[in-house]
């Protein structure tokens, strides 16, 4: 460890590793710290990711691909099913990852690009001078260190403190976090080609249950419920209820818990000498809770903006605003849309959810995108889903129709 770097990245999840790799590739002197001693362990994820997007940032490797899936099946409370899939053989749309291996591969890539990596190293505060972040306070193996840098990137996940230390309030309200529990199960009857989702206010209040195939007769079986529904009943108990009914003879071979931000965009993600990336910037999707790709995508932008800022010797919030503007332009609209969808769907009764599922009976959704699915639902249930009308503004009807009818 040196006492000074161009950039210090706090947290070696997908967001932090991508930031560190991009910044190191641009020639910066980078330190990537992670408080855990093993990258990515314990996993806090259902491990589903869109495979086409992912390829832009990392070469697919069988070592971290547990399974490939063709699409999703969503089950309404009465069992009615909506399928979204790629019909063409060999056109799998998603991976179910092995995140312990995946996250480590991303850290390796950052290290190979030239970043220095330190595990079992925790940021405990920021060094501040004249309103600028100038580095971090850290602890490693019980020793305290001050490490200086021109830029600090907070990629410290759902429990992020880096933003708060710099005066950005990232505290999540109970309704802004999805609280989750998940088993890896084996010896169960699963559809190996599809990710399954189960919705309903009784089984998963303001959330859903997922079953993602992991290959070799294993699956991630998990639940996420919105925080303010938790308390009297909890994610783990609801998961146990589901598992007992759905997979009575199934065997649990791993258990994890976690929280995902589902608040949508926050007010700001930059300060003087500071950027926030991934779950720390609350960039995960409010409906799906997906954040792997979002964090990598934002990390790549943050790494590039860091390089530009150092080159121009200007790390002020004004200069780093480039990061804020770029990520909002690419991702902000999706997150805003998801928030509208979340607000509406979380107020639907089980009967209404059933109605929605039945309204799509006989419609071939083909390789539908999320917006295409929502459009199909909206057209068939205008009264129920009137609140969603704003999300279709600016998107040509033609595009949405096309995304519904591609393979029909």
């Amino acid at each position: 460890m040196k006492d000074r770097y161009d950039v210090i990245v706090v947290g070696a999840g997908p967001g932090g590793s991508m930031t560190a790799k991009t910044a190191a590739n641009a020639g910066l002197d980078v330190l990537l710290i992670e408080k855990r001693q093993q990258i990515g362990d314990p996993v806090r994820c259902a491990e589903g990711v869109n495979k086409v997007y992912l390829k832009e940032y990392i070469q697919p490797d069988p070592a971290w691909i547990s399974a490939e899936v063709k699409g999703s099946k969503i089950y309404a409370p009465d069992g009615a099913m909506v399928e979204m899939s790629e019909k063409l053989a060999g056109a799998e749309v998603g991976y179910v990852l092995e995140r312990k291996v995946f996250d480590r591969a991303l850290v390796r890539d950052a290290a190979l690009a030239g970043a220095e990596v330190m595990v079992k190293t925790r940021a405990t505060g920021l060094l501040m001078e004249d309103g600028f972040v100038k580095g971090i306070k850290a602890q490693h193996m019980g020793e305290k260190y001050n490490i200086r840098s021109d830029i600090v990137v907070g990629a410290d996940g759902v429990e992020s403190k880096v933003g708060r230390w710099a005066g950005i309030d990232t505290t999540l309200k109970p309704k802004d976090i999805s609280t989750c529990a998940q088993y890896i199960m084996t010896d169960i009857d699963i559809d190996t080609d599809f990710c399954e989702f189960y919705v309903g206010n009784k089984i998963a209040p303001l959330g859903y249950i997922w079953v993602f195939p992991k290959g070799n007769n294993m699956a991630n079986v998990g639940i996420g419920i919105t925080g303010h529904m938790s308390g009297e009943v909890r994610a783990k108990e609801l998961l146990d209820d589901f598992v007992q009914k759905r997979y009575p003879g199934g065997k649990v071979i791993e258990f994890i818990v976690g929280g995902v931000p589902v608040c949508g965009t926050i007010e700001r993600t930059v300060a003087n000498g500071l950027m926030l990336v991934g779950d720390a910037a609350r960039q995960s999707d409010p409906v799906t809770g997906g954040g792997i790709f979002n964090s990598m995508w934002a990390g790549d932008i943050a790494g590039k903006v860091a390089a530009n800022a150092i080159k121009h010797s200007d790390v002020s919030a004004g200069f780093l605003q480039e990061y804020e503007t770029k990520w909002r332009a690419g991702l902000g609209r999706d997150l805003d849309m998801s928030l509208v969808v979340k607000e509406r769907f979380t107020r639907l009764t089980d009967d209404e959810l059933n109605t929605l599922a039945h309204s799509l009976e006989g419609i071939d959704l083909g390789s539908v995108t999320l917006i295409g699915l929502l459009w199909a639902l909206f057209k068939a249930n205008k009264k129920l889903l009137w609140d969603l009308r704003s999300i279709f503004k600016g998107i040509k009807e033609i595009e949405m129709e096309a995304s519904v009818e591609v393979n029909s």
Binding site: V158, K161, K173, G227, G231, G258, G259
Partner: protein, 57 residues
Amino acid sequence: MTVKVNRFKCGYCGACVGVCPPGALELIETWIEVDKTCTDCGICVRICPVGALEVQK
């Protein structure tokens, strides 16, 4: 008055840390620590997926 962590239940996921208004909680590798800024608001207790937290009066 503070929050008590049942270390035998806790899965060290950090969810409670993300919701604590004064930032009184900290996930240190594999355990949760509570500092004296805790106001007993009970939010962390509510959202913990396994019920590992309890406000101690």
